[in-house]
């Protein structure tokens, strides 16, 4: 069964097709949910809710864009909704945060996927949403503002803080590598 057949099956409410589609996307989508969630249980809730929405709404899917992108969009929106439902508001601030000298990109390349994910996970929730949306999903700040109900300026300043936090977390590791290189 290819993807198009799975989608058609899902539109008919065919359980087998739904299960196959779930298996196809569950791994990737769980990683997406995990990035946005505050913990693993949260990520599981988002994944569950997201898939229910996908199967309930698949009849409305029109094959204009890639199906995977559609699935991911729903997961991201579910994650944001989940975050907003359960949490806290992002402090509306346009305070300028200086962008420190960026960490050496090579350090990221030398890290495993789990390590990088762990870094992002360590960000405070508000920062994490904005960092994920901007740096990984590629949304613009004004779009993030609309999605999260904050101003574009707030999105920018929170992103700068998130980036700074990440760089601070990477710094010891970077220093260690540099030390090794100078010793070697």
């Amino acid at each position: 069964m290819n993807e198009a057949e799975m989608i058609e099956g899902c539109k008919r409410g065919d359980r087998v097709a739904q299960h196959k589609l779930y298996k196809l996307y569950a791994g990737k989508m769980f990683a997406v949910c995990f990035r946005y969630a505050s913990d693993r249980m949260d990520a599981e809730d988002i994944l569950q809710e997201g898939f229910v929405k996908i199967f309930n709404g698949v009849a409305k899917y029109l094959p204009i864009g890639p199906f995977g992108a559609w699935v991911k969009t729903i997961m991201i929106n579910t994650a944001i909704q989940h975050y907003r439902r359960n949490k806290r508001s992002i402090i509306d601030s346009v305070e300028y945060v200086p962008d420190n000298s960026p960490a050496e990109p090579g350090i990221i390349d030398s890290m495993s996927v789990a390590e990088v994910m762990d870094l992002v996970k360590k960000l405070p929730d508000g920062y994490k949403q904005i960092f994920n949306l901007y740096a990984i999903e590629g949304y613009k700040h004004y779009e993030i503002g609309e999605m999260l109900g904050i101003s574009e300026g707030t999105s920018k300043s929170q992103y700068a803080r998130a980036k700074k936090s990440l760089q601070e977390m990477i710094e010891p590791k970077q220093r260690m590598i540099e030390q090794k290189q100078s010793n070697g």
Partner: protein, 427 residues
Amino acid sequence: MDNFENSIRHKLDDAELTPPNDMWSRVEAQLPQDRKRRGLMWMMWLLPFCIIGGGIVLYYNSDDGKVKLAQTIVTANNINTKSTNNGNITAELNLNSSKAPVSTQIPISNMGHSAQPFQNIMAHNPNIPHTSSIDLDYLDHIKSMMHFSSNIKQEAPSKLKVKPYLVPPDKLPNNKNEPISNSYDKPCRFVFESVNNIYLSSRVLKANSVATTDQKDYVKLRNSIEYGNVNFSGGVAFKYCVKKNFMVGTGIRFTNYSEDLIYNKRDVTVAFEAPPIGIDELVKKKYPYTFTKQTDSIYAGPNYYGGTNYYFFREVPLTFGYYHYGEKHNFYVEPAISYCRISAIKTSLLDLDHVGFTTVNQIDGYEGVSHIFNSSIRVGGGYNFTKSVSFNYGLYASKAITPLVNYGYAKQLPYTCGITLGIEKRL
């Protein structure tokens, strides 16, 4: 975006994590059962029929002194009834055309409750001869209303629930009834211009729309808005100056928005509706086309997020149509085009778009005012039970064009179809 972001994106974009083993069963448990959903849809469509049916039953069960008939069960398709001098009624039943008539004599004194309606017919209708065969138009009416069992004595007393009443010919409306067009839901109404009326209608609508936005690299879908609408409105229209009437009404509106693909938003609104208040004029459908005055209506009600939705509609319709006015039956076909301006205010304690208490001008997620150009067709009619009571029905279908601008572009092409049923009592 610099290399730092690119490196992280590269690492995480295609990352995979193994979900828990029981995740599929958790998802599956939340998926709808098709049969259940279909059942609910049918219930939604059946609701107005039940309400109207219930209303009719209640109405005819009321003890208002009108001439009533007992209902009995039947297999007969022909009946001749005679009233005899000794107070008995003779009923001849032709069970089938192929069978011989069965003649039964029933003493009125032995008929129990079932005799009362016949006595009422005679008491209230001087045109009915008491001593000869009942061979009037009434009989056809009686036959159409009554269902006789071959065992009248046993069945009749227990079947006194639905009691349509007869109208003497001189009480039937003798002028042509004229529907008015100021009803919010445009059923075919048969209101005498100078007569006050109460109108109870029920409407079910289903509207779908698909909007697309070119918001990012690929086209996003903002899809779709659905709502089922069950509306009960009562109205009083009365003349306070020449050709001026007004109608007030309240109703309950259930609106369910589903915008699953972008915001995963469900917006449930239960609202009171106010059809045109004090501004409308009865426009009699004497001409094949009518450019009616604008109509204003308001919907207001609580929403899912603890706030309130207000929608303001202003519609300027141009209708064309064929109208047939009969004494008993009325019928119309009415194509129309209209322009409708909708503005809305939503307040919410917790909205998906705005955390905290907010007041936003919003139409289905878009800010601003919505302009709708609508083409529609209504088909309907009515049946006058009496001069003062009508049952009206109507079917409605429309296709609208709603140009909207949001992000890159967005357009909606909603279609709507619905059914309206109503019972009207003219005062």
